[in-house]
């Protein structure tokens, strides 16, 4: 496999609808009244309206309808589990087949990207300042709404680019960085300042932010993949899936995986990304190890299908016990143990129990860890916010944390039975948090007046 081939492997998998396909599909939409697809979208995009606008050739209007409701609507058109959301709710499921809402959304937003459209103008400045910590989907969505409302918004972003998960965490062949960059630019066009390469707590102090802004929104998402807690995790060839995917999006494509045997630990969407990335880097064999069964895995159905088609093997009821290295400190194998399912845990998922004596060793060259994400607990502590193992506690109505001046949204409030982990949910939370901030600040300005 040539190096060019490897690079090609990271081009977007699905080329998008052709003009003709989009016209045909958009004309198939019934233009329902009060349709379930809108209700099924966490950001409430007026789906029939944006589809009608595609049918009429009003692509700018279509993109604007989408992006008004969802500031990361271009990314969501690629990563949303549409069959569970809009397309799953389409009334045509009951007669023919659902409208390809995700693909049409991508068609309209791709048009706007390709034609370098700027869809929004900043609102009349109201003199108030809001700091947003974290420039991922939730932070961007909040910044967009606050920008429209006339706030002076500053986003503090630790990475080189804003966009968060969309920029760094989702594989290029599903979501190229250009898409995320365009969404960031749409937010910047509202006079939102994005201070990149700025890690709060290190490059700027929490106090400085707290002192200089009328409100602070914490949208810091989640951190790296936690340790497995087994021997050999520090060996050369053990990767954090988040970092692994990020490398493929930020650095030239590596050929070090050519012909290698890879295992991925975990069966969420990030595990799928790690596995499919490995295949595309030329790995000879990629296995996903999961200690439960396909029933319990958290990856979306379409992700699972995609991985299977890419040739990823799935080993259910299998847990890693230790990672084995050679004298050079390189991974050469992994010892696993077979599991069986016991009674359900608190979260309703069956608890896996090791089967004694079922240990076996797999020869591998790399191990990718994808067992969830840890939290930025230290930063949360610095803001002195109440939290539950890193899940910041909020008032569900006002998005306020235990510090009334600090609001929180996105993955930082996801977990422990609170919220949802989808990009589209983060976007909606960002919008809602922005409205909550606006409501509170408008109230205080009314009081002082």
């Amino acid at each position: 496999m040539s190096y060019e081939d490897l690079q090609q492997n990271f081009n977007e998998v699905f080329p998008g609808l052709t003009n003709q396909e989009a016209i045909e599909e958009s004309n198939r939409c019934l233009y329902c009244y009060d349709p379930p697809c809108i209700q099924a979208c966490p950001t409430g995009i007026d789906i029939p309206t944006f589809i009608k606008k595609i049918a009429s050739g009003n692509l700018k209007g279509s993109a604007k309808t989408i992006m008004t409701a969802n500031p990361v609507g271009a990314s969501c058109s690629r990563v949303c589990p549409t069959e569970e959301l809009c397309e799953g709710a389409c009334v045509l499921n009951h007669s023919t087949k659902p409208i390809m809402i995700g693909n049409l959304q991508r068609y309209a937003t791709d048009w706007a990207i390709k034609n370098q459209q700027v869809l929004f103008k900043p609102g009349k400045k109201n003199g108030r300042k809001v700091a947003i910590v974290g420039g991922g989907p939730a932070g961007l969505a909040a910044a967009r709404e606050l920008g429209l409302l006339g706030y002076n918004v500053t986003i503090f972003e630790a990475e080189k680019h804003a966009g968060g998960l969309n920029t760094y965490g989702i594989v290029s062949f599903r979501l190229p960085q250009d898409i995320s960059y365009w969404e960031v630019k749409q937010v910047e066009s509202l006079d939102v300042e994005i201070k990149t390469n700025t890690r709060v707590g290190k490059d700027i102090s929490v106090k400085e932010i707290m002192d200089n802004y009328d409100a602070v929104l914490l949208a810091i998402g989640m951190a790296s993949v936690p340790n497995l807690g087994i021997v050999g995790e520090d060996l050369d060839g053990v990767y954090d899936a988040i970092d692994f995917v990020k490398e493929t999006k930020t650095k030239p494509i590596s050929n070090t995986f050519l012909g290698k045997k890879v295992v991925v630990i975990g069966a969420g969407n990030t595990a799928i990304d790690g596995a499919t990335c490995s295949i595309r880097l030329g790995a000879e064999n990629v296995k996903i190890l999961y200690r439960r069964t396909s029933e319990e895995m958290t990856a979306y159905e379409f992700e699972y299908e995609f991985a299977k088609q890419d040739g990823v093997e799935f080993r259910w009821l299998t847990a890693p016990k230790r990672i084995i290295g050679n004298e050079d400190g390189k991974v050469i194998g992994i010892e696993c143990i077979k599991m069986k399912l016991g009674k359900s845990d608190d979260d309703g998922r069956a608890r896996p129990i090791p089967i004694e004596g079922s240990e076996f060793i797999l020869e591998v060259d790399a191990v990718i860890k994808a067992i969830g994400q840890s939290r930025y607990n230290q930063l949360i502590e610095e803001f002195q916010l109440e939290h539950n193992s890193g899940v910041v506690k909020i008032d569900q109505q006002t998005y306020q944390t235990s510090n009334a001046k600090v609001y929180a949204c996105g993955d930082v409030i996801f977990g422990k039975g609170q919220g949802e982990a989808m990009v589209v949910s983060a976007a909606q939370q960002g919008k809602d948090a922005a409205y909550a901030i606006h409501k509170q600040l408008s109230k205080t300005s009314a009081e002082t007046a």
Partner: protein, 428 residues
């Protein structure tokens, strides 16, 4: 297998599907291909003078991605010499003696011109003549086509001149660009026409290019009105056929033309009084091969209905076509929604709410699931909801038995008139 043969004013053809006088019947090659494909007859593209045309000529009207919902042209009559056409008609008739070949004719409104051309085309063996009093563009500016067809006296006179010379049946093709087509239809009948055909194309402008601001089509940046045809004109044609068929003063056969694309369309035209149909746009859209389905579909339809000859269809719906004043004012239907089939797109609700009588309620059942219900007392039976409904069977229009006896407007007026007379008598 039903008998599909027709006899239109003495012109026999193996089935009722003829190609109309138009680009598809421009040459012997084309007409012979059409007969090979199964068409029962062809009206040869209009013969006459002069031989000229422009480029481009056609335009189509598409709707919601559906191509050629309507079609428009600024083409003129044949652009081939008369001798060539006559030779090819002769050869085609010899190869297909049982198929109908009708010559469409258009000349200046002069007696000797008509006499001359009628003689020449009959000499090569045509089965009939069709006088083109309909083409709305180009020729009309020189007093031919619809310029003649819009003047009842000219229609009558020219028909008469043709009949003076003709040995074969004469069909007069009428223009729809007129206030009341029954007037010119009657003129044709008065002039001795053996049949009439309708409709020719309707004055139209297919579109304007919103980028160049040119008309569609345009000839070097300039446009002119053309003739409209295709599926979009079918309702207009069907009405004109019906109006003529139910008019007792026009007692001659009708050849139906206008947006006929399927066997169902043909059945509709024949039920409304046409003896056979002429097709053009559908063939231009799909080629001659479409006739196979038209013939088979018609045959199966007739078998299913137990009808042995297609001629038995002719005019069966004419007596049902009347005037508004003869409609029963006490007849009532209402919409009824079948929620087992309904997919809850709610299009009926919003159509009724915004544009009709606000009688479809969006409700929730005890499980919170949405459903729709018609308040039948408020429903006027307008059909709009069932028209916009995308799912077959989700909305039925059902008859509500009336407590009142049938009463038409005309009967009501007559009754009122009688009543007022009685009052007058009493007052006296």
């Amino acid at each position: 297998m039903a008998d599909l043969q027709i006899n239109l004013a003495g012109i026999q053809s193996p089935n009722p599907f003829w190609l109309a006088s138009a680009p598809p019947t421009n040459s012997g090659y084309q007409v012979q291909r059409a007969f090979d494909a199964g068409w029962g007859g062809a009206v040869w593209k209009t013969l006459g003078d002069p031989i000229l045309n422009v480029s481009s000529r056609f335009a189509a009207v598409s709707f919601n991605g559906q191509k050629v919902a309507g079609f428009n042209n600024i083409e003129l009559i044949t652009d081939r010499p008369l001798e060539v056409n006559l030779q090819e008609i002769y050869e085609t008739k010899k190869r297909f003696p049982n198929h109908a070949i009708i010559a469409s004719l258009m000349v200046e409104p002069k007696q000797e011109k008509w006499h001359e051309i009628v003689k020449r085309v009959e000499d090569v063996g045509v089965d009939g003549l069709e006088l083109n009093f309909g083409c709305p563009h180009g020729m009309a500016e020189r007093g031919m086509g619809s310029a003649s067809g819009q003047v009842p006296e000219l229609v009558e006179k020219q028909t008469y001149w043709v009949k003076e010379a003709a040995q074969t049946p004469v069909i007069v093709k009428l223009t729809p660009n007129i206030t009341d087509i029954t007037v010119t239809a009657q003129s044709a009948a008065n002039g001795g026409a053996d049949a009439i055909s309708m409709i020719n194309t309707i004055n139209s402008l297919a579109g304007v290019d919103i980028h160049t601001w040119n008309t569609i089509p345009h000839v070097a940046g300039k446009g002119a009105h053309g003739g409209y045809c295709g599926p979009a004109v079918k309702p207009i044609a069907l009405n004109m056929v019906g109006e003529c068929a139910r008019n007792p003063r026009i007692n001659i056969p009708i050849s139906g033309i206008g947006g006929i694309s399927s066997w169902q369309d043909a059945v509709e035209f024949m039920l409304m009084g046409a003896t056979g149909v002429q097709v053009c746009t559908a063939a231009m859209h799909h080629g001659f091969r479409i006739v196979e389905d038209m013939i088979e579909g018609l045959d199966h339809y007739l078998d299913d209905k137990g009808i042995s000859s297609v001629m038995d269809l002719i005019g069966k719906s004419v007596e049902k076509y009347s005037d508004w004043g003869n409609l029963d004012l006490n007849y009532k239907i209402v919409a009824r929604i079948n929620n087992d089939i309904c997919i809850n797109c709610n299009k009926c609700h919003i159509a009724c709410e915004d544009t009709s009588h606000q009688c479809i309620d969006m409700l929730k059942d005890e499980t919170g699931k949405g459903y729709l219900q018609v308040r039948e007392d408020d429903c006027v039976g307008c059909n709009l909801c069932s028209i916009v409904c995308p799912v077959d069977g989700a909305i039925d229009m059902v008859e509500i038995p009336s407590t009142l006896p049938p009463m038409t407007w005309n009967e009501r007026q007559a009754a009122l008139g009688a009543a007022s007379c009685n009052v007058d008598v009493v007052n006296k």
